[in-house]
């Protein structure tokens, strides 16, 4: 078993210094993702680890009229215990679909978003509602959309020598949402994927539309989403079919897979928007 060096930084500043000195540093908050993947009796880690769950500045929760701001070390259980109505629908449902209560007591929102090998449950939903994240490095801090955690090819990305510190979740979510989790594993597996479709429907018109499918890759057609704005609902089957066909063809082109489940979910969500 390789012996790793473990650090317990006293502040965020200490952590950033550590990160600068050790670019390969593994930052562990809950640790469920890195431990859940390992089946051996002893765990294997990179040469340097920083444990950060004790840092109070990464656990703070504040709320304004428009946003909920949570520290990256907030556990998923902690999010669920916020007063009812503090989370936009269907975020509580998305969180409850993750693991079980004992896993959610350990797993954190930051860990769920920063997984380097794939996208996990929260990312597609938070990207759909334009949640923001604060990224800190020794050069300063900046806010960016959570959607920036996906690169142009739809693969997970995260800036070097930086840490995700806070997530700003808008309290108002679109009035239509459809969420489906695929796969049957407690921990993310190759077949796990998440489908989210959200729309704002007002006066029988689509005001905004988002559709994200994410697993090992993220799939989203931002330009096409814009073309659906202004459409009258209910959509007829004649309207829905060309949209499904377009999404299906793009999905094959971008991911190389013909995914029956994706096509069925796209059709299902458009049908639900139309009340079918």
């Amino acid at each position: 078993m390789r012996i790793s060096e473990i650090f317990y930084p006293n502040s965020l500043g200490d952590l950033l210094e550590l990160l600068k000195a050790n670019p390969e540093l593994l930052i562990v908050a809950g640790g469920t993702e890195v431990v859940g993947m390992q089946a051996s009796k002893s765990l294997s880690f990179p040469a340097q680890i920083a444990s950060i769950s004790h840092l109070p500045e990464l656990q703070k929760t504040t709320r304004s009229e428009q946003y909920l701001e949570v520290g990256c070390c907030t556990t998923l259980s902690g999010l669920l215990t916020l007063s009812s109505g503090a989370l936009p629908a269907p975020l509580p449902q998305v969180i409850q679909s993750i693991g079980n209560p004992a896993i959610r007591n350990t797993a954190t929102i930051g860990g769920n978003l920063c997984c380097k090998r794939r996208f996990m449950d929260l990312w597609p939903f938070l990207a759909c509602i334009d949640a923001q994240m604060e990224i800190r490095s020794l050069h300063g801090n900046r806010w960016a959309g959570v959607s920036h955690l996906s690169d142009d090819a739809g693969l997970p990305q995260f800036p070097e020598a930086s840490i995700l510190t806070r997530i700003r979740i808008p309290l108002h979510a679109p009035n239509f949402s459809f969420f489906k989790k695929l796969g049957n594993s407690r921990f993310p597996s190759p077949e796990s994927a998440y489908f989210v479709c959200m729309a704002e429907i007002s006066h029988d018109k689509i005001e905004s539309f988002r559709l994200i499918f994410a697993g090992e890759r993220a799939f989203r057609l931002k330009d096409h989403e814009a073309t659906l704005i202004g459409r009258r609902v209910p959509l007829s089957q004649k309207d829905i079919q060309p949209i499904v066909d377009y999404y299906s063809a793009e999905f094959v082109e971008k991911t190389g897979n013909d995914n029956y489940q994706f096509n069925a979910l796209t059709e299902e969500s458009l049908g639900r928007i139309s009340g079918q």
């Binding site: 680890i49 444990s51 693991g99």
Partner: protein, 162 residues
């Protein structure tokens, strides 16, 4: 490296390696028959402990995360009134978990009642997913949880006699 934490109310100082799972470190610190990890994957529940009041799988927790925390195993919890309420509820409902999972299920119920003193059926069913052993029928177990809750709430929230 050396870490210190509180285990069942007693301060501990122990040597760990970076790759140690918490459950194995706890096993070395005393006689804890409740800690016999079987799956190392957060399924069987035979490593459940309370860390800083929250129920966790100690097999899924790296030992270095225990630094500065307070840990309670089933052996520490079994002396409490809360545990007696749960055992009472299980007996009254004729729900008898097997020897493999009995302690894990008691810890699982304790966590639920701590978070939700009056749980609903959906809360109970969700909590049951923490321990995968199918030895007890869910209906009896749900009844046991409700009886335990009633007993616990009577004791904790009893009004002072006039």
């Amino acid at each position: 490296m050396t870490i210190d934490f509180v285990l069942n109310g007693k301060p501990q100082k122990t040597q760990i390696r970076s790759g140690d799972r918490l459950v194995y470190v706890l096993q070395k610190l005393g006689d804890f028959p409740s800690l016999i990890p079987d799956c190392l994957g957060g399924n069987c529940g035979r490593c459940l402990v309370f860390m800083d009041g929250r129920l966790i799988y100690s097999c899924l927790t790296p030992a270095f995360k225990a630094k500065g925390s307070s840990i309670v195993t089933y052996e520490g919890f079994s002396a409490t009134e809360d545990c007696k309420d749960i055992i009472y509820g299980l007996k009254q409902a004729s729900a008898f978990p097997c020897n493999f999972c009995r302690k894990a299920k008691i810890m699982m119920i304790a966590d639920l009642l701590k978070r939700i003193p009056l749980p609903e059926e959906t809360d109970i069913m969700e909590q049951m997913s923490i321990v995968s052993c199918p030895c007890t029928d869910p209906v009896s177990l749900a009844k046991a949880v409700l009886l335990s809750a009633e007993c616990r709430n009577k004791r904790k929230f009893k009004r002072a006699d006039k």
